[in-house]
Structure formats: structure tokens, C-alpha cells
Amino acid sequence: MAGMGMLAACTSAQPNSGASGGTAACVANLQFPPNTPPERPGQIVSKVPNVPLAWTEYPKPYVTMPNPPGKGETVTTFQILFSSPPPPLESNPWWQQLNKRLGVTIQPTLADSPDYAAKLNTLAAGGSFPDITWINFNQNGQNNGAGFMKFVAQGAFNDLTPYLTGDGLKQFPNLQLLPPVTWRGSAFQGKIYGAPYPIQPVNGQLGMYRKDWAEKLKVDNPKNAEEVMRMFVAFAQEDPDGNGIKDTWGIDTLHPSIWNAMFRAPNQWRLNSDGSLTRDLETEEWKAALEFAHTMWTKGAFHPDALTLTLNQNMSLIESGKTGFFTQGGWGYFGSQPGTMTTLTKQNNPDANPAPWIPPGFDGGKPAIPLGTADYGFGAIPSTIKDEKKIIELLHIMEFIAAPFGSDEFNFIYYGIENDMFNWVNGAPVHVTNGNQNWSNGLNYLCGTTEINYFYANQPGEAQLMQQLQEQQIQASIADPTLGLYSPTWVAQSGNLIKLQTDAYNSMVVGNSPLTDLPKLISDWKSQGGDQARKEFQQSLDKCKP
């Protein structure tokens, strides 16, 4: 591919650029220093491992990095944009302050999320990546759909394992506080290539449903698959809003992970007792979940545009009282602060009672909820940067952005400038209603800790509830046994294989293809690289046995 000649020379003294075909390490061998957060008032540490902190009160601000980490030069970044772009530097007081606090001039390239893959591939074609490049293998839910793993495997980015594990991590105290589960989840081929953006380990699996509808139609608290179906079909067929018009649906999009969890399908792969691997679509559980979803479709529980609805459309549907279920990553859609989906749903539908929902097991037992990677991308440093001092400086910049919850740096990154962007209300920062929040759009999305600290300003009990729900989900979760393992075929083919699986799943659920096409899907998947990937993962598993 033209412009891809970016393999950097490797020296043992320098950060390893991890050139193509290099040796893979084992994620289990990655060691991290203790990350116990200092005790602060209001902090609740869960007894369940890897559950994020909850806060009943906001910490008093404290400074973690008194000196700017930068040396005055320009630092280029590549970051993703989930909302509209920020104002330019000259009319953006937050950006100006960010530069001052970091001691550098940040020159970002912001890619809006639908074009993130195209833009990153363009940068790759040009042969130069910005100094800090945010890489997310799983952008837009298509694991490696954009083929980014290839860049990393071919040595486009520095192997930062020596700096971000073990004793090396101790020189970055804020990064040291990131959970090991996030570090390991973000590892590629057993190595660390950047500072990760931590998220809760089980993410995107907590539903929000219309409890008022369920109570009215006497279908609440479903205990098994049959009752779950009854509930969502009732949302669609039994006029839950009482307006006499059949204008509601149970669910927006297909949400396969929810039904897979209910039927206890494997999380991507199953590690069998004999050490072999079985892909989820080869299992009876996955098939049962597929049949369940198909039946739900035929009974009209799903929105007719389920295959094409965007996240914002899904949000509009539940806010306007047209659907009875919603889920997305993170936990910000709960809570009664202004602008959340809970608030907007209640605003538009005064009788609404949106409540959290975790699916039951299909037989009344526990579900098997997929445990995620606990990360959403990482900030990588291109291998064209060889100067160790520069690398450490860039890591300190990322350390600033990863400042712990409630610190002065955290408040600046996520709440902005006092009075202009937020005010203190009862000891907690609350955004002001003047639209200045856009000053930090995209610029503050890199490796921050906002999603692993449950806090709802002035809403007692809400943070604890979210933490308890995460505990329940983690306790009912199953891990992907191939996480962090090395398979060159999976690097090259996973985008296509996942697309093949997703397209076939969608087609069978909505009836465009018969369910009897499943054996063909399995056969195609195996022949198009799935079997080879399985073999390589198994070899990698054998090498990385504890």
C-alpha cells in the first residue's frame, strides 16, 4: 500500500517499534504496580474486583501535576469527535488554557466518529501519524473493521511496554492509577502501545427500559426468555402509551449481545475443557439467541428500521416514547441531571419511569454477560519518534489528561473553566447553560478517567446504584479467552469475518435469509480465515499458559 513504508528501526535500548511478525508476549505476564487510589471522602471501593469507584460526594480539588509537562513546542494529536467541533484556538479560551497548562501548543486533527477510520487510514497512507494518535480497534462496533491492527503490527507505533508497565509506570503516577484490567484489555499482542481510555469492564450491556409500561401491561420483572419476549412484544402490540394508536415498539435495534447474554452464548470464543476454541456462532447457545431474536422480529417487537437506526435516532425514539428499551456504552444516560436521556424521556412523557434492566438467563438462571476490554482505544506514539525524552514528555501529557477524579486537572479537562463552563453547586461541579461546553469537544477525549468514576451531582444514591449494577454484571460476566492473544490471520481478517457474521445475523433475524443458512455461515466463516485464526489463537494460548 503506497505510503505505508513506516517501519522504524528497532534497537534494544529504544522503545521497541514491534516490527512486523515480531514476537508476541503474553498479556498475563504484564505486571503493573499497585493502583490503589488514595482514600478520599465519599469514595466507595467495591468489594468486587475491577468495578469502578463510586462517589457520594465530590472530592475537594487537589493538584497532581503542579508543573506543565511540555517543553513549549507544538504537539500534534489525532483524536475522535463525538459531537460538533470546538471553536478554533483563537476564539477558544479552554484550548488556550489547555496549552498553557500542558506547556505545549496542541495542534489536533479531529475526525468525526463516522469518518474516523477513513481519516486514520489517510494518515497511514501519508506515512506520518501525529505525535499522539488515538487508536481504537473497535470503533463503531466493528472490531478491526478499519484494519488498524495492521499498522500496529507493522511497527507504526512504539512499543511502550517498558514505560507503561512495572517500574516504568511509576514515573507516571496518574497513569499508574488506571486499572490493570484496562491496561491488559488495551494490550495488543501482549504489549502496551499507548495510554488507554478506561471504561467500565462490562459496557454497553445495561439496558434502560420503560418500567411504567411493563407495570401497566403487567409484564414487569421478566424472569426468563419467554417473559422477556412477552414484555417487549407487549410494548409493541398492546398500546402501552394508551393513545389508541399502534405507534410504539419494544426495542430499537437488534442488540444481539443482550440475547446472547440471556442464552449464555460465548463471549466471542469459548475455551473448551480440552483447550480447544469454539467460535460463538458455532455454538447451540448462539443459535438459540438468534432464533429468539428472529421470533421477536416476527412478532413486531423490534422497530422496523432496526438495521439502520443510528444512536441518536435510538435516543430520540425512547425520549419521545416510541420505544421501550435503550442501551449504549457508559452510564451517562441514567441520572436525573438536565439533558440525560432519563430526564428527557420523563420531560416528554410525564408518566415515564425509565429504569435499569439486566436480562435474566433464558431459563431463569443468571445470564452470561460479555466482559469487555475495559478500554476504548489508546493514545499511541508513532515509531518515527525515537527520542526517549520526547516519548516521556508525550506520556506526561497523556498523564495530565488521565488525572484522577476530582483533581484540579480532571476538573479542567472534563468540566472546563470555572464560571464560563461550570459552577460549584453544593460542592459538585455542574455545567452552566451557556453552550460553552463545546470549547473542549474532542480535545479532551484521549485517556481520561471520567467513565470509571460513578458520580451524579446532587443525586443521592445514584452512583451507588450504578456501581451495584456493574457489580451484578461483572459477577455474571464471561471473558473472551482470546483477549490479548496473537493471531496474524485475525489481525488481517477479523474485519471481514465480523462483517460476515454480523451481516448474516442481521439477515437471518429480519427474515431476509432463512435460519437454515446458519451452517453455511459457519462454513464460510471457517473457510475465510476463521479456522486459521482459531489455530493461531490456540498456539498462542499454549504459549501463554500460566
Partner: protein, 298 residues
């Protein structure tokens, strides 16, 4: 039956009432089908939240309001993108027209200018072969144009198709005219400016419209070449808001509900479409003439 030599041909006869009614109905149907999407977009953009939530969007909004437009223009993003698009389109069209017409004129004087055939083959080659995204990106990068407005204009400076159209038209202008001007002492530039261009208004209007529309609606070029979000033109903003439904900013009022996302999206579509729609009527009278230029000889 003998032919009545004095009768008018049938196509000059006054059409019957039935055929006039049929034609009128057909035209009304076609116009309705063409106009309906535009009207619907406009109607949604002016609809209120209760109309949308109640699925009561009518062709004439029941409770019209300009909330979506005021929200959009309160934020700087759409306004800034409009300014960029207008600037790039206006300047780009002028520059493209300058380059295209001058090259076309040179290539039309085959007997006077040596090497016209070779240059023409080079230009026509670009119609057949395209280097692709990555070589184009690398070329723009090596020219130092990345993240500049020039990157939105220079790669498409001369369209081979437009060049051929203009050249063909110039070749239809009698050489006697230019010869006479030369005898009177005019130099080639004066001939080009005072004789060729005034006679070519129709084709120039059409080609300018082609360039203008292409520059206005170019989305992929800005996506590849522009890193600074402050330089985003309207197509990128359109994609962000309409296709992906991203929330608007600048006018985000935390705690105060925005107009429904659909009205905002449709309002952005209207704002992005209006400038081109506004220009077209002024060029319409040249359009048919220009498109047919060279099609009918004599």
C-alpha cells in the same frame, strides 16, 4: 387519398383539449414528485416538537417555528462552514474558469499553437485514468497543500470534461473574427477577452455552474486534506449532523431542550442547499444554450 398541399403539418396543429389536459396532468404529477422531497424537508425544518412527536408533520406545518434555524445560527459551526464553502466555491470557480478557458483557447487554435494535440491527449488521459485516493493525497501533501483551502481547489483546477466542452465551443467560433481582430492590431489576450469570451457566455455559464456545484458539494476532499475543524466546509458539517445525527454545539444549552434533532437536520439541509438554488435561476437562460453548444451544426 390525395394530400392536401395547403394543410399545416400535424405538429403545428392546435392540440385538442384532451391532449392538453393529459399533458397538464402529467406535468403536474412530475413536478409534484420532484418538489415533494424538498417541500417535506422544508416542512420538517419548520415543525415543532409536538408535531414530530405526534407524527403530525404536514406539508404545511401545523405549528411552524424558526427554532431550528435560530439554534443553528446561534452556534458558530454552521455559520463558519457556510463562510468557508461560499469562499472556496466563489474563488475556486473563478480560478478554475480562468485556467480552463485559457487552456481551452490555446488548445482550440491547433494551427497556431504547436503541441496542442499532445497536451490534449495528456488532458484526456485524466478522463480515462485516475491515480486513486492515496497518490492524490500524497501529491497534495508533497505540494504542501495539506490543511489549506488551496487543497480544496487545486486538485480539481481543470476538469478534463469541462475543458473539452469549452474547447469545442471555442473551435466553433469562426477564425475570420479573430483574424480580423488581429489585422486591427489586437493581441491574443485582447482577442480572448474582447471577442472569444463575450461570444461564449452560454458555455461559460454552464461550466461555471458545473465547477461551482462540484466545489460546493465536495465532501471527500475536505475529509482527506483538511485537519483543522475550523476550516470544514458545509458538506462535512452536513454529514456530521444529518447522516450521523451528531448533536449541535455552540447552541447546546445544557438543561434546556434543543429543537428536535430531525428539525435541526432538515434545517441544515435547507441551509446547505439554498445558496446553489439561489444561483441557478440567474444562469438558467444560459443553461440549455450551453449544454447544446456544438450539438447542432450550421
Amino acid at each position: 387519398m390525395a394530400i392536401n398541399a395547403g394543410a399545416a403539418p400535424f405538429w403545428m396543429e392546435r392540440p385538442s383539449l384532451t391532449s392538453r389536459i393529459v399533458k397538464a396532468v402529467a406535468l403536474i404529477l412530475i413536478v409534484t414528485v420532484m418538489l415533494f422531497p424538498f417541500w417535506y424537508v422544508l416542512s420538517v425544518s419548520l415543525s415543532s416538537e409536538r408535531d414530530l412527536l405526534g407524527a403530525n408533520v404536514a406539508l404545511i406545518p401545523l405549528h411552524p417555528n424558526l427554532g431550528a434555524y435560530t439554534t443553528i445560527f446561534q452556534g458558530a459551526v454552521v455559520t463558519s462552514a457556510l463562510e468557508v464553502s461560499i469562499g472556496v466555491t466563489a474563488i475556486g470557480t473563478l480560478v478554475c474558469m480562468l485556467m480552463t478557458t485559457t487552456l481551452a483557447y490555446g488548445l482550440s487554435r491547433t494551427s497556431q499553437v504547436p503541441g496542442t494535440k499532445f497536451v490534449l491527449i495528456l488532458v484526456l488521459g485524466t478522463l480515462l485514468f485516475n491515480a486513486g485516493i492515496i497518490p492524490n493525497y500524497l501529491t497534495v501533501r508533497y505540494l504542501g497543500l495539506l490543511n489549506t483551502y488551496a487543497s480544496l481547489i487545486v486538485p480539481g483546477l481543470i476538469s478534463a470534461f469541462n475543458l473539452v466542452v469549452v474547447r469545442q465551443f471555442f473551435m466553433g467560433i469562426p477564425e475570420d473574427l479573430t483574424d480580423a481582430a488581429m489585422i486591427d492590431g489586437a493581441n491574443p489576450l485582447q482577442i480572448f477577452w474582447h471577442i472569444i469570451l463575450p461570444l461564449s457566455k452560454a458555455v461559460l455559464a454552464v461550466v461555471a455552474l458545473f465547477y461551482g456545484v462540484a466545489l460546493w458539494s465536495d465532501y471527500f476532499g475536505p475529509l482527506l486534506y483538511i485537519n483543522n475543524t475550523a476550516m470544514w466546509p458545509i458538506p462535512l458539517v452536513l454529514r456530521l449532523y444529518v447522516l450521523q445525527g451528531q448533536a449541535l454545539s455552540g447552541a447546546e444549552q445544557v438543561g434546556q431542550p434543543l429543537p428536535p434533532a430531525q428539525t435541526l437536520q432538515m434545517a441544515v439541509v435547507v441551509i446547505a442547499t439554498l445558496p446553489i438554488l439561489f444561483v441557478y435561476p440567474f444562469l438558467q437562460r444560459y443553461f440549455v444554450q450551453g449544454v447544446l453548444s456544438g450539438a447542432i451544426k450550421g
